[in-house]
């Protein structure tokens, strides 16, 4: 079929695939571009993805954002596509002007310690007032800055870049390391140079760079389509191709708990210690006048494996990574607190009451977990009200 255009002398085929399909591609492409100007909050199930989108280089999240979701749920339920196992909860997630998860007013306050690490520090899955830094701030009376980000590796230059913008009362870095995360290695020279370069860029430039990156890499249409296909790959209409990402296990009380498959595999592997990173971290922080305090956090699988029905047996040398790391750090005179025994014991006690320290559907600890971790840190780490008034932490003096 042809349709006359203009004077009728020139005829352009319209109802032909060679015209319709490129037009369709163009329309879908334009729709994709148009949607990229919109917020992706409605397409996300939790704050993490929504606030990572326009993250400026050097920041953890998009600065000055409030994210509220009344039906947020766990990363493992999403990763394994198990909608029936979601634990819906309210999530409120606020970021400060530097792009970290803190109340905006924190930049006007005196900071006693910087808490650095991965999503456990950020407080994925819990509300603003339930993060570890909030718990420590509330319970110890001195302000702890949440510098957690998705990059599990903590680089001193990044901390120093953040620290320069803070009103520091005490030069202490608490480095939280979670079992199951990748074994950190020192960054290359090129990576350090990039971090330093980013640190020198004006905030406006970094913000624009973050938005451009977000625009180019995050497609709401892709998110929408991905969620639609997950509804079809549900294990009934089509096999759930995401299920292998997650280990679905039954606890002795009959509840179902999810674990990330790669973390379970990591736990059961014999992992060699690599202390180069820790040595480098301590020395670089020390050069900048910061003290380092390491807190080791057990992964969810390590805590709950003893309570699983038919747990996978441990092979020799596997499953004790944090204990070995703790011993090695102590031998290096790095102040360290291993939360494994404490949280394991508390998990056993809580389980009897049908309560948990970690979400059933998430890798991360819940509000109860952060409260207990804060209590353990407070009990073992002598950062008292006095210390909050000193310029140098006593932490390193009493490892």
């Amino acid at each position: 079929m042809t349709t006359s255009i203009g004077t009728g002398q020139r005829r352009r085929p319209v109802w032909q695939l060679g015209f319709v399909i490129p037009c369709l591609l163009a329309v879908v492409g334009l729709a994709d571009i148009g949607l990229r100007f919109m917020s992706i909050d409605p397409f996300t199930f939790r704050a993490w993805e929504a606030l990572l989108r326009n993250r400026p280089p050097g920041a953890a999240f998009e600065p000055n954002r409030d994210y509220d979701n009344a039906r947020s749920y766990g990363d493992l339920a999403a990763l394994g596509n198990f909608p029936a196992l979601r634990q819906y909860r309210v999530e409120r997630f606020t970021t400060d002007a530097l792009g970290f998860r803190n109340p905006p007013r924190i930049l006007n306050e005196e900071i006693s310690a910087i808490l650095a690490g991965d999503s456990f520090v950020v407080g994925s899955g819990v509300n603003d007032d339930e993060t570890l830094s909030s718990r420590l701030t509330t319970s110890m009376g001195c302000v702890v800055y949440n510098a957690g980000s998705d990059a599990g590796r903590v680089v001193p230059d990044e901390i120093l870049s953040v620290a320069r913008r803070l009103n520091l009362r005490s030069r202490l870095v608490i480095r939280l390391y979670t079992d199951g995360a990748a074994v950190p290695v020192p960054p290359t020279r090129r990576e350090i140079a990039a971090v330093r370069l980013i640190g020198r860029l004006p905030a406006d430039v970094r913000a624009v760079a973050g938005k451009v990156r977000g625009f180019l890499t995050v497609s709401p249409l892709q998110s929408l389509s991905g969620r639609a296909w997950k509804a079809i790959d549900n294990g009934r209409i089509l096999p759930n191709k995401y299920a292998d990402n997650v280990v679905r296990a039954t606890l002795v009380n009959g509840d179902t708990m999810l674990f990330q498959a790669t973390r379970v595999d990591n736990f059961h592997r014999r992992r060699d210690l690599s202390l180069g990173y820790w040595r480098w971290l301590r020395e670089d922080l020390s050069k900048a006048g910061f003290d380092l305090f390491v807190v080791l956090v057990p992964g969810k699988y390590e805590v709950y494996r003893p309570f699983l029905v038919d747990p996978q047996p441990l092979s020799p040398g596997a499953g004790d990574y944090l204990n070995r790391l703790e011993r090695a750090l102590r031998a290096m005179d790095v102040p360290v607190l291993n939360l494994t025994p404490f949280l394991s014991g508390e998990a056993a006690r809580s389980l009897q009451r049908g309560k948990y320290l970690y979400w059933l559907d998430d890798n991360h600890w819940n509000a109860q977990g952060t409260a207990l971790a804060a209590a353990a840190i407070r009990a073992q780490w002598p950062l008292t009200a006095t210390a909050c008034n000193t310029t140098r932490s006593p932490a390193v003096q009493t490892p």
Binding site: G18, Q222, S225
Partner: protein, 462 residues
């Protein structure tokens, strides 16, 4: 980069197309096609571009040598050296570790202690295809079937033509030489409709049929020991249609892309599941490969001109090589040998076979093909044996997740594969309602491509 990826549809194809048609003259278009081919290839591994360039240069120089020299000795060298180099590269990357592993198993039996190293090699994608492109060029030049080109960029564009680069069809130079010669005279609109028609049909075959089948049978076959007899048959049947619509779809997309740029690529699948015997099936299945082995292996071995035994030997050698071409794995060798036996058997009972009703010939041919595919799909001897055992002895086993979707898709696939005309038999002149229908299905494909990573084609691994 995959044809069924957003990067290809939204960036590579429009840029390549627009620039190509904006250029005038042969040379700029040759250069642009060559560049675009290398860019396309570099999305997998840019380091292997040098390998393709090396193979291209050697073959080009050999062609120039064949143009220049008339004495048989030099001409023979112009064939032997580049073909040997091509095969050496192919052998090293594709069969080196296979050979070493097998020799390491055999050497102790011979009382030798040497152990050949197993190298950490990455198989360059498409090497089996572009190597065959260059080999056909050299041999055809030597035989005088074609006149080698003096234009390096024309030859480079032929070898690296992105539409046929990584998974064929294995296009011979003589098949598109005229299109290259008239590249400056090609009309951009004349073949655009046909090109898009081929491309859309290929995409629908791949995304909606092959990938849907794969979504169900791949997880089931990963737990092959738990399959019931019905599930095992469904899986093998599903694989038969998956591999056909996957590779057939890819070939249709390649042909469609060829049309968009003024090239008429040859038909690669001619409704193979309508075949009435196994020889007929191989004349219809992956035609560019089977004709390559026919012309460059089977005929030089003597073909069917000798005794019955010699013919059988030639058939078996050819089909074992066809099997081995698919990968460095004994299962492929067995698959090839099985096909060789079927072809030999068919020659022996041809008269009686032809007396069967046509539906019986077709059904039996398809059934025999299915058995071969059970071997072809297996990841090891254990899986092949278990799969065949489950198919032919009753196992209650577990049901398949997604069996309903699979059966619906298989029914659709069967109708298309066994009864519908293929893409070379239709006119590609669509009524508005058909265009609207295709647009809707294409939209669904796009939605799939947006939501999930595009699934690679089965034949990329070969």
């Amino acid at each position: 980069m995959l044809f069924n990826s957003l990067a290809f549809l939204y960036a590579f194809l429009p840029i390549t197309y627009v620039v190509f048609w904006r250029l005038t003259g042969k040379m700029p278009r040759y250069v642009w096609l060559a560049i675009s081919g290398y860019v396309f290839y570099s999305f997998w591994n840019y380091k292997f571009c040098s390998l393709m360039l090396f193979s291209t240069t050697v073959s080009y120089l050999a062609g120039r040598g064949l143009l220049r020299w008339r004495d048989p000795g030099r001409r023979r060298l112009c064939v032997v050296i580049p073909v040997a180099l091509d095969l050496a590269l192919l052998g090293f990357f594709k069969y080196g570790n296979f050979a070493a592993a097998n020799l390491n198993g055999v050497l102790p039996w011979l009382g030798m202690r040497a152990t050949l190293p197993i190298l950490d090699l990455v198989l360059p994608v498409g090497i089996s295809f572009y190597t065959f492109h260059t080999i056909t060029y050299i041999i055809d030049s030597y035989r005088g079937a074609i006149t080698p080109t003096r234009n390096f960029f024309k030859f480079a564009a032929y070898v690296s033509l992105f539409s046929q680069l990584v998974a064929g069809p294995i296009v011979r130079f003589r098949q598109i030489d005229q299109d290259f010669e008239h590249i400056d005279r090609a009309d951009r609109t004349a073949d655009l409709q046909t090109g898009w028609s081929f491309f859309v049909i290929g995409l629908l075959e791949k995304v909606l049929i092959a990938d849907t089948i794969a979504a169900v049978i791949d997880p089931a076959l990963a737990r092959y020991a738990e399959l019931s007899t019905v599930s095992a048959w469904l899986c093998v049947l599903g694989f038969a249609y998956q591999v056909y619509f996957d590779f057939g779809g890819y070939s249709d997309m390649a042909v469609g892309l060829g049309y968009m740029f003024g090239f008429r690529l040859p038909q690669n699948f001619n409704s193979p599941y309508k075949a009435t015997d196994i020889a007929d099936l191989w004349r219809r299945w992956h035609i560019s490969l089977s004709s390559f082995f026919r012309d460059y292996v089977y005929f030089p071995l003597g073909g069917s001109r000798g005794s019955r035994w010699l013919t059988a030997r030639n058939l078996m050698i050819t089909m074992v090589l066809v099997g081995l071409w698919h990968g460095a794995n004994w299962l492929y060798v067995i698959f090839g040998a099985y096909q060789g036996l079927l072809l030999i058997g068919h020659r022996m009972i041809r008269a009686r076979w032809q007396r069967l009703p046509q539906w019986a010939q077709r059904s039996a041919t398809f059934g025999l093909w299915l058995l071969g595919l059970a071997i072809f799909r297996a990841s090891g001897f254990g899986m092949a044996a278990a799969l065949l055992e489950t198919m032919f002895t009753w196992h209650a086993g577990a049901g398949m997740v997604g069996a309903g979707a699979l059966i619906v898709t298989l029914a659709l696939a069967a109708v298309i594969a066994h009864w519908a005309p293929n893409t070379f038999e239709i006119r590609h002149r669509w009524s508005p309602s058909w265009v609207a229908g295709c647009a809707v299905l294409f939209g669904i494909c796009l939605f799939v491509l947006y939501g999930a990573r595009p699934a690679p084609y089965i034949y990329f691994q070969f």
